[in-house]
Symmetry: C2
Subunit: 208 residues, 2 copies
């Protein structure tokens, strides 16, 4: 899948949340440089992002918050709640389950899966944990499109192949391997340990 708009989508999601807050505060306008500060890019980048959506601002006033929010939330949020599954209830999987629960109203982790029978058929942080043998059916019946992979590195590709065959279209991969997937599947890599290692690397380099 084209990652082309990937970064801009991140920004748009942030803009949207920020502008919603503005709206609730009763403010009518917002400037590009305020949004730029929020997400850490130049005002030019913000204006470019908004250009695509024909959100027009006026100099001296900025962008009208109400229209801004309406247009963006229309584009970004589908009316329905997006159902998500998590695969791999190890340390990281549990960490994410306990962190993410009810964090966003229109996103829900509806089930988690693991191959270890000791971990399954119970509830963790409000989420059902089922045996991996039930995963295919679940994805199909519940029409799940988004999955978080939190299995060890050497199982990640196997899991990915399996869930893609079952109908998953978007994967957040927390395992430290690159997944081979068909081009229409969106994959985002998110390796916390690697990020920490990288930070440590820069810290030690600076020191010299």
């Amino acid at each position: 899948m084209r990652k082309s708009k990937s970064r801009s989508v991140e920004r748009l999601l942030r803009y949207c949340e920020f502008v919603k807050k503005r709206l609730e505060e009763g403010k009518s306008y917002v400037f590009s440089h305020e949004l730029a500060d929020l997400v850490g890019v130049s005002p030019a980048q913000v204006r470019q992002d908004l250009m695509v959506f024909k959100i027009v601002g006026t100099p001296q006033k900025g962008y009208p918050v109400e229209e801004f929010y309406r247009v963006l939330s229309d584009h970004l949020k589908s009316g329905i709640k997006t159902k998500i599954i998590l695969v791999g209830v190890g340390n990281l999987g549990r960490a994410i389950l306990s962190y993410f629960i009810k964090r966003k109203p229109n996103l829900e982790i509806v089930a988690a899966f693991d191959s270890d029978p000791q971990k399954t058929e119970r509830i963790y942080s409000g989420t059902r944990i089922l045996h991996i043998s039930k995963m295919n059916d679940f994805i199909l019946k519940e029409d799940i499109k988004v999955a978080l992979i939190t299995v060890p590195a050497d199982s990640a590709q196997i899991v990915a192949d399996q869930i893609i065959k079952a109908g998953i279209k978007c994967i957040l991969n927390f395992a430290p391997v690159a997944l081979k997937t068909p081009p229409e599947v969106f994959v985002e890599q998110l390796d916390i340990t690697l990020s920490i290692e990288k930070a440590a690397y820069f810290a030690n380099k600076e020191a010299q």
Copy 2:
């Protein structure tokens, strides 16, 4: 800080780990396309990464694993264990503490900090949790250079300013705001919720 080498550092860390495994398996050589598959780039990119370190391979055989590992680990890992602190012991902070513990032998989260006295002066997942008022001294005395920020969005900047003043050089920011920092400080943004939202966005777009 120049993010220039940031992505290549990620790859080098992965190469290093992979090559170490190869070494333990008793294999003598590794090909660029094997490393490319591992990290999800082209073999050309891998060869370019290695060029910088003068790691030379031979056609038909590939790169010599032993020299490869020696050169890279020399460059990437400092001999000493890197000490890390975590600021903000909410859901996310606890999640990371419980996940990360003893994951990498030369990285250690040596303490966590929070402003809530109810959470402090105890141990969570093997990590001491101290009151935030002790943070400055701790950073100075223990010579900490790396910090994970897991506080809510509206406190993140305040925390960042404070720890940078105390001597922190590298920040992993899990809060959903861009931090304003001096150019010599390395900041990595890591917003799990945002990534999930983004995946949900693509899932819903695909559906149409």
